[in-house]
Symmetry: C2
Subunit: 380 residues, 2 copies
């Protein structure tokens, strides 16, 4: 599910020994455990595709996804990516003080309660495809109702600093949020998940996401800044200017952890940890929209190559989503104009991955079905 | 799920009274029963979307699909499009004598047996999403093994004539194939299906499909002809020339039924009937790839407007697919480079439609969840 792409023109200094940034953390431990993609399993899956009762290559990107699942799992045919869990990491953002969104921060806590009650879009879509929802408070500012069932209350701090004028997080807080994500991924896998989907909630979080995408891809703020939940032209211009201020604050020579701490978010850091935790556990990780793309870009800078173990669920209508995925060489599975977040686009893509694995596990071969193959022609 | 589009520049004469072409048929009866899309239900679904706990419009094309499901069913929220059935219509094509495909016609019968045994791609994908598969022999040339479980043996004739030199079917055969499709749709709905997906199998059938798409859209053969199951440049040029010969044979003043009879196929005619039967039964119809697109274009010419009740599951990598869908103003849900047919792309899209309905049925409203709405801003 990867394509060739030009090397990044990043604002971030190249890091010769990235692990040094976060040594001594749980994140560092799992990053060190990541094994290479299994080329033999991938080749076996590709060869198996060619024996199944269909013209070669006729299932298009579903075949590529099946090969990728085999490379991740290290076995062909690959195991079905089921059951699946979507972890929704919630956090608040000091930058809302700049007026980058019309929604009040309190909505983050209210939506966390909605997730726990099962009434949000991600709950509905997850039920529809048989996925579980785990809700994690990584840094919500407002009080969350005490009776939120199943909530993991693990706030690293109650909302970030205002990234327009100050670091969003300290380095220690950033490392703690990365570790939280790793821990959640490991717990999900220990609880039986064989596919991890990213979810997110945080009023204002398209602002740090756009800032991170600008920083890691080298694109100007105006290219990566979008309307989020729905803002007018004036607020969009203001939001772009706020992101430019944040980028201007980045110290010369910043490494990836500096960038994440300065202009990131608690739920975004946790998502980066969750992604790396899932990859280390050799389960496929499906990323959602622009928040997740920012987290994946961060994770891929902290742990180079980690995005090659992941699937992009969809291309969000937020411009930073497509830019981040293209930078990583990932082609999204869906393109439905979604811009909700919560994990909705990852959950909607899950049946496609399950189908990709099922094809390799269940389809008849030409020999077994007694179907005549066409004359030997070049595969297309 | 429709967009504005220019009026067709068709090779087919406009028909002032299309029903006259097929009067006295079961197809005519159901075409006359089609009720308008329900604008009130659509408006109610759109209004409901705006009360659900998400930014307005943030579920993109999933919201549009939910509104369309409400318009089709005549109620909001719309019923879940489940259970779903994919009917795979199989037929052979005399035009294979021209050497338009490297696969022998016998493979059609062999694949029918594979469908009945549950080993083909459409079987695997249908199981994955909980859909049923119905297999219909609409006109297979070779003998199908006697023990093909569940096969509906309803061949109108054993393969079509060679459309390069003679009519593919007589008008009576064409009407019989349309009626067969209607009957299958009605039986599927009577058996409980609440969503119909199109499936197809027929060695050589991208040739009549491209010919029909050229005839109904006015596009030249070279634009709509593709590599089907995988042919080289030489065979592609030859296939294009064969399609040009077929188009040149169309008598001046041909109406839609003349065109279908002359250059269509038995399974394609049956699919057109199946689509119209599903629409008349007010269940959503999801069309698969280029064969289904040709059938839908045919159905929409026979019964103008019928495509507005349908969903395009995906854009096939066959060029005629995108051209036909654009001509009808349909935006496909998936774009995964599929070119297998059998109904695979329709089945893969089914979870998206079920999700679209589930959102309207199950998501919490702002009021019920106690979530604060953002300030009154223009909906985006």
């Amino acid at each position: 599910m990867t394509t060739d792409h030009d090397p990044p023109a990043s604002r971030v200094h190249s890091v010769r020994n990235p692990h040094a940034m976060y040594s001594g953390t749980r994140f560092a431990d799992v990053a060190a455990r990541i094994v290479p993609l299994d080329a033999d399993a991938a080749a076996a899956a590709a060869a198996r595709h060619d024996r199944l009762t269909k013209p070669r290559g006729s299932l298009g990107r579903l075949e590529a996804a099946g090969v990728q699942l085999a490379a991740i799992a290290g076995t062909s045919p690959p195991p079905l990516p089921a059951p699946a869990t979507v972890a929704v990491f919630a956090g608040d953002h000091g930058v809302v003080a700049e007026g980058v969104t019309p929604w009040p921060s309190e909505v983050t806590a209210q939506m966390v309660a909605n997730f726990c009650a099962g009434g949000a879009a991600v709950n509905v879509l997850a039920r529809q495809v048989g996925a579980s929802v785990v809700v994690v408070d990584a840094g919500v500012a407002s009080d969350i109702p005490v009776d939120a069932p199943g909530l993991l209350r693990r706030a690293v701090r109650r909302g970030t600093g205002n990234l327009a004028v100050e670091p969003a997080m300290s380095h220690d807080e950033t490392r703690a949020a990365l570790d939280l994500g790793v821990e959640v991924a490991e717990q999900c896998v220990a609880d039986g998940a064989r596919c991890l989907l990213t979810g997110d909630m945080g009023i204002g979080n398209t602002t740090p996401s756009a800032a991170l995408i600008a920083a890691f891809t080298g694109r100007p703020a105006v290219d990566v800044t979008g309307r989020g939940t729905g803002i007018d032209d004036g607020m969009l211009a203001h939001k772009t200017a706020v992101i430019e201020r944040a980028l201007a604050r980045l110290p010369a020579g910043s490494d990836a952890l500096d960038v994440l701490a300065n202009i990131g978010g608690l739920e975004i850091a946790a998502l980066a940890g969750y992604i790396v935790g899932g990859v280390a556990a050799r389960v496929p990780v499906v990323v959602d929209g622009v928040i997740a793309a920012a987290a994946l870009l961060t994770a891929d800078t902290l742990v180079p190559g980690v995005s090659r173990y992941c699937f992009a669920g969809h291309r969000s209508s937020e411009p930073g989503s497509g830019i981040a995925l293209a930078h990583l060489g990932l082609e999204p599975l869906l393109d439905l104009g979604l811009r909700l977040g919560e994990g909705t686009g990852a959950v909607l893509a899950l049946p496609l991955l399950q189908a990709a694995a099922a094809v390799l596990n269940e389809m008849a071969t030409f020999d077994a079905a007694g179907v005549t193959e066409k004359d030997a022609l070049p595969s297309t």
